[in-house]
C-alpha cells in the first residue's frame, strides 16, 4: 500500500473508534449502513406498488415512519458526503472499475452485482453489516456480533480462491 496520503491503519482505527463512541453517546447507536438500503428499497417498492405495505418484512419499516425519519438512512447520506469531501481534498475522485489488470470488466461488474445481492440478504438475517453489526456490536460488547463477524470472514476466506483472478495484483 504505497501511494496517496492514506492514514495508517491503526491510527485510522483509533480515530474511527472515537467517532463510533461519539455516535453511541449522542444517538445511542453506532454508525450503520445496510439498514438504509433496506429502508430505501422498501420505500421504492411501496411507491411502485402501495400493496407492498402488506409485505411482512417491509411493513416493519413502512409503519415506523417515513424514510426521512430513519436514523441510519439519514446517516448514510452523511457517509456519502463525508467520503466525497475526503476524496475531493485528496483528488481521489475518478471513475474506474477496480480489478486485476486485464480482467474482464463485465465479469468484475457481474460479481459486484451478485455479491451485492448476497451481502444484502446476509445483512437482513444478521440485522446489520460489518459497520452496524461487527464494528458497532463488538464495540458495544455484544456476543452475537462476533458470531456474525467470524462467520463472515470465515466464509469469505473459504471461498476466496474462487475469485483470486479478479483481485490479482490489485491495489
Amino acid at each position: 500500500m504505497k501511494q496517496n496520503n492514506y492514514w495508517s491503519p491503526v491510527i485510522a482505527g483509533i480515530i474511527l473508534g472515537i467517532a463510533l463512541f461519539i455516535s453511541f453517546i449522542v444517538a445511542g447507536q453506532g454508525m450503520g449502513a445496510s439498514g438504509a438500503f433496506a429502508r430505501a428499497t422498501a420505500q421504492i417498492a411501496y411507491t411502485i406498488d402501495p400493496d407492498f405495505a402488506k409485505n411482512a418484512y417491509a411493513a416493519k419499516y413502512l409503519h415506523s415512519g417515513d424514510a426521512l425519519t430513519n436514523w441510519t438512512a439519514i446517516e448514510v447520506v452523511g457517509i456519502f458526503i463525508g467520503g466525497f469531501i475526503s476524496a475531493l481534498l485528496a483528488k481521489r475522485i475518478k471513475p474506474e472499475i477496480t480489478r486485476a489488470k486485464g480482467y474482464s470488466s463485465f465479469k468484475r461488474l457481474f460479481f459486484a452485482f451478485f455479491g451485492g445481492i448476497l451481502v444484502a440478504v446476509g445483512t437482513r438475517f444478521a440485522r446489520g453489516c460489518t459497520s452496524g453489526q461487527a464494528l458497532d456490536g463488538a464495540a458495544a460488547m455484544s456476543a452475537g456480533s462476533w458470531i456474525f463477524m467470524l462467520a463472515a470472514f470465515g466464509a469469505g476466506f473459504l471461498v476466496s480462491f474462487l475469485f483470486k483472478k479478479q483481485w490479482k495484483g490489485v491495489e
Partner: protein, 106 residues
C-alpha cells in the same frame, strides 16, 4: 514512525481500560448505576414540575432498570401518577407508554 505512534496509542487505550477493569469491582458498577438512577429521578422531578408527566415516567422507567429498590423512585412515581399506580411493596413499575420495538438492527 507511524507504527510507533500506532502501538503507543493503542497501548495507552488498552492500558487505560485494563487499569480501570483491574482497579474496580462489581460494586463500582452498582454504585455507578445508583448514581445514574438518582440523576434520572432528579430529571423526572424536573419534568413533573414542568408538567410533562410522560417524560417524567419515561425517566422513572430508566431509573427503575438501574436500581429497582430505590425508595425515592416510588415516592416520585406516586407524585406523578397518584397513589394507585405505584405499589412499593410489590415493586410495581411506574406506568409508561408502550414502545413498539422494531428489531431491524442497523
Amino acid at each position: 514512525m507511524s507504527k510507533i505512534v500506532s502501538a503507543v496509542g493503542l497501548g495507552l487505550i488498552v492500558a487505560a481500560g485494563a487499569l480501570a477493569a483491574i482497579s474496580t469491582n462489581y460494586e463500582t458498577q452498582v454504585e455507578a448505576n445508583k448514581k445514574l438512577c438518582a440523576t434520572y429521578i432528579t430529571n423526572a422531578k424536573d419534568a413533573l414540575k414542568s408538567g410533562d408527566k410522560d417524560k417524567a415516567n419515561s425517566f422513572l422507567d430508566k431509573a427503575f432498570k438501574l436500581d429497582p429498590k430505590n425508595k425515592t423512585l416510588f415516592e416520585v412515581a406516586k407524585e406523578i401518577n397518584g397513589a394507585t399506580a405505584a405499589q412499593p411493596a410489590t415493586g410495581e413499575k411506574p406506568k409508561a407508554k408502550k414502545k413498539i420495538s422494531i428489531d431491524l438492527g442497523c
